[in-house]
Symmetry: C2
Subunit: 270 residues, 2 copies
């Protein structure tokens, strides 16, 4: 889960998502719309009898605030929380799994803030099983082939990897960049991701307000997408002043065509 504003539990119920399936919660910064739903979500997880470890990544003060709220309510959590402190100054791999990794990247907002990049890191090749079996490649070699190695037979003959494998699924990546002022460093962090979510709080005619409040305009979000060579851009975090988000969409699309509008409850498939 990326950020957890007030009322997140209600949204989970509305969209049929189960809290026990959430194992990682990544909090960008400590403004209310990004974490005020967290105490309620955690205490509800306790009420539902959760046993599985929960990992929470976020700014340094988050653990203290949550501990205090949980202790004052005399809540005894039946599960462990593992906290990861995100560095607001430099990019950092904060989690590494078998076939994925999560990186936090520094953003420039009014208070310490980091974005997150989620990357699949599994093998992108799949075995050409017919050829492997015909040549008698031992099963012990299969993972090495999927990782890109060439195969050397017992009689030292080299069989190149591309004879034994086929193109598999390309690893996907998702960057979640909110809240931030326009910052071209972001373009280098998110370079080449499959889908970039970037905040677009204002239209570019409100640039002065964007600079003052450390937010980005739709035009600037499009520019970051264009510079960084991402496949698609998803814009959101719109100021409540905009009743028709299509204005923001058109502005971003004027710089980066493959832009989508983040709509409540909608699923975006990478």
């Amino acid at each position: 889960m990326l950020d957890c504003g007030e009322g997140t539990q209600l949204q989970l119920v509305r969209y049929g998502l189960r809290t026990h399936r959430i194992n990682f919660i990544l909090i960008t910064h400590l403004h209310g719309d990004h974490f005020f739903g967290l105490p309620g979500l955690i205490t509800s997880m306790a009420l539902f009898g959760r046993k599985d470890k929960l990992t929470i990544a976020g700014p340094a003060p988050l653990k203290g605030i949550l501990d205090q709220i949980i202790n004052i309510g005399d809540a005894h959590l039946p599960f462990d929380i593992v906290y990861i402190v995100c560095d607001p100054e430099k990019p950092q791999i904060i989690l590494k799994g078998n076939h994925y990794e999560i990186e936090s990247v520094p953003l420039k907002h009014r208070i310490p803030c980091t974005g997150f990049i989620l990357r699949e890191t599994g093998p992108e090749l799949k075995l050409n099983i017919d050829v492997c079996e015909k040549l008698g490649v031992p099963i012990a070699w299969y993972e090495r082939l999927k990782a890109g190695e060439d195969y050397r037979t017992e009689d030292k003959k080299l069989i190149p990897n591309h004879d034994l494998t086929l193109a598999g699924t390309k690893n996907r990546s998702y960057a979640y960049i909110t809240d931030t002022i326009y910052d071209e460093n972001v373009a280098s962090y998110v370079s080449g991701v499959t889908l970039l979510y970037h905040e677009s709080t204002f239209l570019h005619q409100m640039l002065a307000r964007a600079l003052e409040t450390f937010h980005t305009t739709a035009l600037q979000a499009g520019k970051i997408a264009a510079i960084s060579g991402v496949e698609s851009l998803l814009i959101g975090h719109f100021s409540a002043r905009y009743h028709d988000a299509n204005e923001l969409l058109l502005e971003a699309q004027s710089v980066f065509e493959n832009t989508l509008l983040a709509e409540e409850g909608k699923t975006y498939v990478l």
Copy 2:
């Protein structure tokens, strides 16, 4: 506003209530369903440009938690918050206005907790203006007559109050009692109030669970209402296990007939 669980802002919007009309927030205790909506409500009030003082009464640690959350988010509130610490050990008048007062009363829950009693304290008599004018009672006397004094004319003649006044509006009172184990002290605190809201988390067949979690059964809530001689009882705070709250209503009514069910969004006129 009595308590402020997560999502209170959404409910205010749903029922067309305006946050700027809220001047007092009374928090019974620091379990999430009673205060997790408060940080969001306060920061939204700031966003909406509130200038008026806000008074918050609640347990001692509340100020520290809210200060910390507001400071970490670097929010600068454009209004003052006045905190009142409620004594979890003994009843205490915490606010006195021109024609009302608010009392906090100690409850017995798993953590420090107080209920609140809101009482009108205005004059219950209105002037019999025809008689007053006929007898030439000076206008300066009017407030004293409404407060129940007899009138003495310039020539020392005593005119009894009941000749100069009529029955006016009876002062109303509302007691908000949640969360608590069954406690007959509560009956003495709320004695004679117009409307008693009392938590009724369980049916009486779940008495053991009620004792264990420091909650009250519907039967017990009815009993408190009967002992204390209130006019009406409003029960709420039902366990999610009850899909039909009428079971709880019938149980409370078996002891105290004039019982109502607290329903979301419904207005109860005293």
